[in-house]
Amino acid sequence: MAEMTSTSYQRTMSTRGFYRKHKLVIMPFVFIAPAFAMFAIFVIYPIIQSVALSFTEWQGIGPKRWVGLDNYRELWGDRVFWTSLVNNIYWLVLFLLAPVFGLFVALFLNQTVFGIRLVKSLFFFPFVVSQIVVGLVFAWFYDPAFGLLATILEPLGISFPPILADENLATFGIIVAGLWPQTAYCMILYLTGLNSVNPEMIEAARLDGAKGWRLLVKIVLPQLRAATFIALVVTVIGALRSFDLVAIMTEGGPYNSSNVLAYYMYDNAIFRYRMGYASAIATVLFAIMNVYIIWFLLRLWANEKGAR
């Protein structure tokens, strides 16, 4: 592509006029400017503003007061902050089950039998449903008085705990709800990946006597690396972004036991008007996410260079 562009560049150099001479320099900026301006105003600049806000005390109106690292010092001693951080780690770790489950569902469905296309899309469709609806359904499921789980388990003599009202269980109840659409998402990534697995390599490995688990680990999984990579990225980001389900299912309760950083930040800003403190929480979450964002960008960069 490099050579092609430069030859066309030389060609246009011979034509007259400032614009015609420089159009290959001017046009990309004309094309990119509107999108970049919007993105800079609504995404990039607010990030800088939030980080700056985290060093201030501000109620949302009136003057901002510079407090240095005070907000971060307060975070260090804030028990709810630590609970939220630990819960985010639970989310992160348990959400990694989504790529695993997704892979197995994809392997289960990667057949050509009658109606399989419909089955695949029905398996996928939890992902299309709003998280708010997912949250409402699972809350209804878990309800200890008239939920489905209680209804099924009680006749068996198992007393079903009120999951979302239990300090030790609430987070896990929400994570399970979150795993449902996330597994569907990973499944579709793996189904697409399985489509492009090289059949000859599989056959060759089979002739060598590889089968089942060994075949999967040694031959198939390496070919699914691209799918695995994307599944991991979207799962990690999804886990750290968890907000909707917490908001609709528990609002962080009982006693903040199911809080996560994203919701605790919102809580501080909207209900307690502590904009500086909330920004400090957001900055911590942002810093954690940056690890994954940078990893993702480096991988893309390596691919981009490899493609040339």
Binding site: T7, F31, I32, P46, S50, P126, F141, G193, A227, L297
Partner: protein, 283 residues
């Protein structure tokens, strides 16, 4: 092919597979089945504690009529469309331009700009929340459709630009070359050469963005205050408070909220999956 085609397996395993398939599907979709069944349950059944047993009567029509009559769900639905459609158009327009700008020209800093678009797409919403809310207040669009629409356009442009840039970079560059040699202007190349070729990408992005923006809960929560401007995701929380003891109505409301993106998905399935799995099949 992996796993081995079931057709090669013994007859007994084939039958087992064909039985396991619908059973697993039912278990997997149990939450959805439960909500559909509940949406059709009558209030008298719920009052008698018949939540999961065989319903004595089907009350679908009654429940849906009741939800539309006793809540603002009709307005919430319209609001969702008013927010979603312009957001998609705006994001697609900006990202087609930017994607072409990043894919067709070589200039310093183009990877940096692309990286910013990609990275911005992954940031937690909370790091944007307070300044964006303030910005909409300053612009006078807080608590209007425009506040949410402008933000969605800006934010979704990140992902869309990444997508469009990759799609355009994969097109045969000779077409652009040939047009330039003919003296066709860059604008004309974009409109007459690039845009017709990126139609599949635009379709994929449009359906993806429809579900993303329709299902978004956070930004209307932050940027909209008036009940009459709320989209359906936010409206459901109002319904949750309103129908605290009539879950059949809340279930019916949830179904109504879920229906548009689900219909969009089933109608445009191929495009949707192509958009979502971009890159999943490449090495």
């Amino acid at each position: 092919m992996y796993p081995r085609p079931i057709q090669d397996a013994p007859r007994s395993r084939q039958i087992m597979y064909k039985v396991a398939l619908p059973i697993s599907l039912i278990i997997w979709l149990l939450p959805m089945i439960a909500i559909v069944a509940t949406a059709g349950r009558s209030l008298s059944d719920l009052n008698f504690g018949n939540y999961w047993g065989i319903p004595t009567e089907w009350a679908f029509v009654d429940n849906f009529t009741e939800v539309f009559n006793s809540s603002s769900i009709g307005i919430y639905l319209i609001n969702s469309f008013i927010i979603t459609v312009p957001s998609i158009i705006g994001a697609l327009f900006l990202s087609t331009l930017a994607g072409a700008g990043l894919a067709l020209y070589r200039f310093r800093g183009r990877y940096l700009i692309l990286a910013l678009f990609i990275a911005g797409n992954f940031v937690p919403f909370q790091i944007l929340m307070i300044p964006v809310r303030q910005l909409t207040l300053d612009l006078g669009v807080y608590d209007t459709y425009w506040g949410v629409i402008l933000f969605q356009i800006a934010f979704q442009t990140g992902f869309c630009t990444f997508f469009m840039r990759n799609f355009i970079a994969d097109l045969p560059f000779e077409l652009v070359e040939a047009a330039r040699a003919e003296g066709v202007s860059e604008w004309q190349i974009l409109i007459h050469v690039i845009v017709p070729l990126v139609r599949p990408a635009l379709a994929a992005l449009a359906v993806l963005q429809f579900t993303f923006i329709w299902n978004d809960f956070f930004w209307p929560l932050i940027l909209i205050q008036s009940d009459e401007l709320r989209p359906i995701t936010l409206g459901l929380t109002t319904l949750k408070g309103q129908y605290i003891s009539s879950f059949n109505l809340l279930a019916a409301g949830s179904l109504i909220a879920a229906l548009p993106p689900v219909m969009m998905f089933f109608a445009m399935q191929r495009h949707f999956i192509a958009g979502l799995t971009l890159g999943a099949s490449k090495g």
